[in-house]
Symmetry: C2
Subunit: 207 residues, 2 copies
Amino acid sequence: MEKGKLFVISGPSGAGKGTICNELIKQSNVALSVSMTTRPPRRGEIEGQSYYFVTEERFVEEIGRDGFLEHASIFGNYYGTPKQAVYEYLEKGRDVILEIDVQGAMQVRRSCPDAIFIFVLPPDLDELAFRMTGRGTESPEQMSRRLEQACVEIARVVDYNYFIVNDKLQDAVESILAIIRAEHSRVTDTIVSRIAAYGMASGCSEN
Amino acid sequence: MEKGKLFVISGPSGAGKGTICNELIKQSNVALSVSMTTRPPRRGEIEGQSYYFVTEERFVEEIGRDGFLEHASIFGNYYGTPKQAVYEYLEKGRDVILEIDVQGAMQVRRSCPDAIFIFVLPPDLDELAFRMTGRGTESPEQMSRRLEQACVEIARVVDYNYFIVNDKLQDAVESILAIIRAEHSRVTDTIVSRIAAYGMASGCSEN
């Protein structure tokens, strides 16, 4: 059976990554990895679905047993992707989506070089500020810090394989679904050996 | 305006490339490049649509004026892709599909390094032989030569970006449409500079 593939989605806070990921799991068979964090839940966030909300002690324990695919401390809170669930999905042939920041993405690139990296941009930074205000859970200082962070992050698009401008939600979702489908047609080392075997099974000689 | 992209489709004769390409132009806005050839038309082939059927003299003249993106002599006949039409489509923002053999594809890779290469495989070589018989226009010797050629060609999948097994036509078509869409989201050098400009226009400093 073909293994699943790992897709990493990053982009500035407020680019709409969360909404896109929710649509992706509704509209396809991809599994969304649930992160672990020490930050307090925001209104409406659900334990085990939005995040696993844990204490700092518990998080550090998990780091100790090498339980994360990536983890980072952002604005004083820990965030991490538990390894086990991701690997189980991939082994069962399911594609997995990680919605993580650029620091985390680069850690994943080192541990999973076959992962595919997608960067989501808002139509412009004004729109970003607007979306962040709309969220209504952040102070002006937090927002301004996030906008600065967005500028730094946008420059990191160079480390990604794909970028999506989240202008219209459904377009963005369909672009990512196309990327997922296309990546299953990509020629990789595994595919090359499988196709060589196909040739021999079909009566081609080894040369 | 975003330029079009060039997609090169190859695969053993009988893999169903022609049928796929016809569906692609029906189901999307891609343009199909029409090749020039010195081989005689097969039954049902239409001048200017299937090929431009020309004399050897005319073909050699076109080589002389550097009029081909790629050209080759196969089983004693010349085949070539006229440059001008392809470049015009790309400039106007239309994606172009070239259905050419592996020799031609490698020439295109040298002249257009940004082109995307897709390899189409039949479900198996028995199916290939069956489809070739179905065509009913080839002698047993021609068929056996083409089967040998298919074995050699299949090994060249390593030079391609994507591969598609043409098991069900519509699936194959949709996979290629997904590849075309995904490639428009790919991070390229052009995109990186455009995104840097976007950041600055949105108030990010140059660092």
